[in-house]
């Protein structure tokens, strides 16, 4: 089951906090939506540090869909 997390428009560090929470819930893959390059980079760094892999897909409105998988 894909878990979707919408972190678009949220202030730092919320996207990372929500991503971390989703990772600890262990339901993969996680689709995390972010709006800025900063959130994208921060979530990716956190996910990789947590032992996951991340793929980035640019979506409409210059937003990003990050797909987090357990490595």
């Amino acid at each position: 089951m894909t878990k979707t997390v919408d972190a678009r428009g949220l202030s730092c560090p919320q996207p990372v906090i929500l991503g971390r929470k989703a990772i600890t819930e262990n339901e993969f893959p996680i689709e995390l939506l972010v709006e800025t390059a900063t959130s994208r980079d921060n979530v990716c760094r956190m996910a990789e540090k947590s032992g996951c892999t991340v793929s980035i897909a640019p979506i409409a409105n210059d937003e990003f869909k990050l797909t987090i998988q357990k490595a």
Partner: protein, 372 residues
């Protein structure tokens, strides 16, 4: 699907490089005329701008600091070049304005923002240790709120004008700085003739340094508050490695430039009232954590189109006006004929810091959302 490829500025080496460059530029600016034991201070400099515009009338701290303008426009340039400029706003702007006011009141109680605290440390001013402990305490409180679901709500993509407003204001401010018009007798634009406001590096050098720092800070997401917050929240040391680089290179630069002065009492533009150094920075740290960025970061965000960060910056400028008009700001230690008078804040200043902490706690508690 694209695989994640790190650009240099997103790496640890990148942020360390940025921190190191800032750690060289700030002492250099001090060497070239900026106030001693300071170099760069986002809070003090925004306060100086408030003074230049006449929002307060403390004659010794009035000057349109080009560094602040440079931070915003340097960030704008980086955001435009690397296509990260995004006009956005709508995340509880009034609360951010209030947080900005209290962040500045807290910072001025200590006589410095986190950037200055780090630079003071790198110059031997041991009061910075008290301030940084207070900052960490305030951020730790903020982290508790963040972990309980605190959020100011999401921002939304806005029309371009919302994102360009702050850069436009900064360009206007730059014009005022360059042409220094006199709008009325004894009126704006004010410019200190003595005191810290009169201590300034040449305008173009200040502006150039600000632009470079703004550019680097935007690319690396440099944030003094975030550096401590990420360690406390999740043991992440990415941001703090940039801060560490700043402190080390600033210390070495100060050593070379003869700007080291170890001590606690009578440090330039600083006071040794330990409790209020601690509490002032606790307030500032809590406010920055609740607003999502240190004052430098807020300037950077406002340069990349973030209207909510811009409101926070305007809140800080407003807070500076209140701080000086209501005599809330810190007074430095003074040494006259070998007699030390410890500075600090007035009873009104103490009340303002306490009220600020209570207000931030109220915002923290009331803005928690349930996690889904």
């Amino acid at each position: 699907m694209t695989e994640y490829k790190k650009h240099f500025t997103a790496t640890r080496a990148g942020i360390i490089t940025a921190g190191a460059i800032i750690g060289i530029l700030a002492p250099l600016l001090q060497y070239l005329g900026n106030p001693p034991n300071m170099g760069i201070c986002v809070a003090c400099f925004e306060r100086d701008i408030a003074g230049a515009l006449g929002l307060h009338r403390a004659a010794v701290v009035q000057y349109i600091r080009p560094e602040i303008i440079g931070f915003v426009l340097g960030s704008l340039a980086a955001a435009l070049i690397f296509r990260e400029f995004k006009a956005r706003s709508g995340s509880s702007p009034l609360l951010r304005f209030i947080l900005g006011n209290f962040a500045m009141i807290g910072a001025l109680a200590f006589l410095g923002c986190p950037w200055r605290a780090l630079l003071r440390l790198a110059g031997g001013d041991l009061n910075a240790i008290t301030g940084l402990i207070g900052l960490a305490a305030g951020i730790a409180i903020g982290v508790q709120f963040l972990k309980s679901g605190y959020s100011l709500g999401r921002s939304y993509r806005s029309r371009e004008a919302v994102g360009w407003a702050m850069p436009a204001l900064m360009i206007g401010l730059l014009a005022l700085a360059i042409f220094n018009p006199q709008f009325s007798d004894g009126g704006a634009i004010f410019s200190s003739e003595a005191g810290p406001g009169a201590m300034r590096a040449p305008l173009l050098i200040s502006l150039a340094a600000g632009l470079l720092i703004g550019f680097l800070a935007q690319r690396t997401r440099f944030c003094t508050m975030g550096s401590l917050r990420d360690v406390i929240l999740m043991g992440d040391t990415h941001l703090i490695s940039g801060i560490g680089a700043l402190v080390v290179t600033a210390f070495l630069s100060n050593l070379i430039l003869g700007q080291i002065n170890f001590g606690i009492t009578a440090q330039p533009v600083a006071h040794s009232s330990h409790l209020w150094n601690f509490l002032g920075m606790l307030l500032a740290g809590l406010a920055f954590a609740l607003a999502g960025g240190c004052p430098g970061r807020q300037l950077i965000l406002s340069g990349e189109g973030d209207g909510d960060a811009a409101i926070f910056v305007l809140g800080m400028i407003s807070g500076a006006a209140f701080a000086h008009n209501f005599a809330l700001a810190g007074k430095p230690d003074s040494l006259a004929d070998g007699v030390l008078t410890v500075g600090g804040i007035s009873p009104a200043g103490m009340a303002a810091v306490i009220i600020g902490i209570l207000a931030c706690l109220a915002i923290g508690f009331s803005m928690r959302e349930k996690f889904e």
